[in-house]
Symmetry: C2
């Protein structure tokens, strides 16, 4: 992929259109992650925050506020807020995941890393909280408080749903809203709210973020099984090995005959996995059209995100958000 | 100690005077810790929250608001908020401590416990955040946001200060403000704020909570070495074994001669501890008057807490808060 193509991705066009705002967000992130008293904090956050990442969530805040005519300055605070919340959840996920990876690895420094990840994550949550109070908008605080609770609830729900073949699509959706969509929708909704948008516009941007986040996560879960074509690649099957109940598995389990069910119980619930089991899981998914059905769900959510945008005024940023929803599901075409 | 004596402790008199409010707080805590979607959450929180504890922090909120004439209802929200924040920090401390205890223990269920503690702690933080937004008071949000950051910063600072003989009394104070005093002072300050108190009264209640919290923690650290009499009891020396730089050690290290310094480097920095080392540490503290000096500091902070109350109107609750400050340091008389 050459530079020209890269520049044409919706994400990159958003970054270009919002370059000035994003520079302000990056400055604010660096300023607020510092700690006068505990220099360990920026050490730990630096590799996560300064590495950059796509900064998708802050861009959603900025795009929502700007397309509704907001002239600032508080969209920058809210954009930094959602990035801090995102980074804090990554740090805490590290603790959860690090524990899992312990089994095949030396545990040196694990103790120190766990402590730092938990406590620095807490610090970033607190900093996010300070930032979001500054605009003095109680509705925005409501949105972000509720999103925080949904995120935490979804993470806990994921714990109890893991390795449980009784996990339904409704529970999966709840988990996905928690781990991904809640922060997307809080980003777009709070951006609209700070811009003083109408109730209908705020609702539209909530719906957009919610549907975009769900589409995004379903695609991620599909790609973990090689995408809708089920091509096995380097990282294919991580979710399978971790016995996660993601949408393709849930769909295949729902249609399993008794013999197939015995297979799923063994590999997912009992965790007894042998060579060839991933391949067999993929063949069962193919047999029941699970990948295609999950892909159809992702496309429907992306379409729902685009439809939500109809309630908003015409604006180049609105078009980019629409293209972004299309792009998210293109990854599995 | 008989029932009569127990009923006369300042803490119990506060509980009696605030019984109706505390019943409302307990109801709110139970209602808000529930989770429609993730039943695992109340399972994990129940043993912490329903076990009760002294509920000291919520009582500080209620006492501050009531002694300034507040008639409700939002002091109940704030009282539940500080208890949730306290419980969340306990859960996260468990992760940090559990990792430490791993060394001498079977690690079964550690993985699950770590996950649950981190994520349910996050859930309680989010619930606290929702609760504190409800009164719609931005100054209260400021107070609690700043306290959250101070708490997290203090916890991280404690990580880096541990096992470091360069830790000064100023750093110790910073850590103590984070781990204990910040939530005490946020409790009393936010109680005053919600009551619509004057700036001077709000400042007075902040100062009271801050000084009370510091006195409380110094006493705790002294008791870990057996109190000012340095009597070795069942749990004496936990901080010594964990190589924590608490006030008595900091004071003894500051006056150490070269030979004593070699001892402290070995037992605290290098962690090479043998039988008799705790006893030797205690004798060095006694030699330099470290316990007595730390005790004098605790008494001075308790006196400062009491003096702060002078700015407040006469009220039975004010007297109970004053008695509470005296009682906290009585434990080491």
């Amino acid at each position: 992929m050459n530079m020209m193509n890269a520049a044409q991705k919706p994400h990159d066009r958003l970054a270009e259109a919002l370059a000035e705002d994003m520079a302000a967000v990056n400055l604010m992130i660096r300023a607020r992650m510092a700690s006068e008293h505990a220099p360990r904090i920026p050490e730990v956050t630096a590799h996560l925050i300064e590495a950059g990442g796509k900064r998708l969530r802050p861009m959603l805040v900025l795009a929502a506020a700007r397309l509704l005519g907001y002239a600032g300055p508080f969209h920058v605070h809210l954009a930094a807020t959602v990035e801090f919340i995102h980074t804090a959840t990554l740090l805490h996920d590290d603790v959860v995941d690090e524990s899992a990876r312990r089994r095949g690895r030396p545990t040196a420094n694990l103790l120190w890393d766990n402590k730092s990840s938990v406590l620095v994550g807490d610090y970033l949550f607190a900093r996010a909280f300070q930032l979001m109070v500054e605009p003095g908008n109680l509705r925005v605080l409501d949105i972000l408080a509720n999103a925080s609770a949904t995120i935490a609830e979804g993470e806990v729900l994921q714990l109890t749903a893991a390795q449980d073949l009784g996990t339904t699509e409704a529970i999966y959706l709840q988990v996905v809203r928690g781990k991904t969509a809640a922060l997307f929708s809080a980003a777009t909704e709070s951006g609209a709210e700070i811009a003083g948008a109408t109730a209908a516009q705020i609702k539209a941007l909530f719906d957009y973020g919610d549907a975009l986040g769900i589409a995004f996560q379903i695609v991620d879960d599909l790609l973990d099984y090689g995408g809708s074509a089920a091509v096995i690649g380097k990282n294919t099957g991580d979710d399978f090995r971790e016995r996660k109940l993601t949408l393709p598995v849930i769909k295949a389990v729902a249609k399993a005959n008794p013999e197939e069910r015995v297979f799923w119980v063994r590999v997912i619930e009992k965790g007894q996995q042998d060579d060839g089991d991933l391949q067999h899981a993929l063949s069962l998914m193919a047999k029941h059209g699970a990948m295609q059905a999950a892909r159809a769900d992702a496309l429907a959510w992306a379409a729902r995100a685009q439809t939500a945008l109809d309630a908003l005024p015409a604006h180049p940023l609105r078009d980019m958000l629409s293209d972004l929803a299309a792009y998210v599901v293109e990854r599995i075409n």
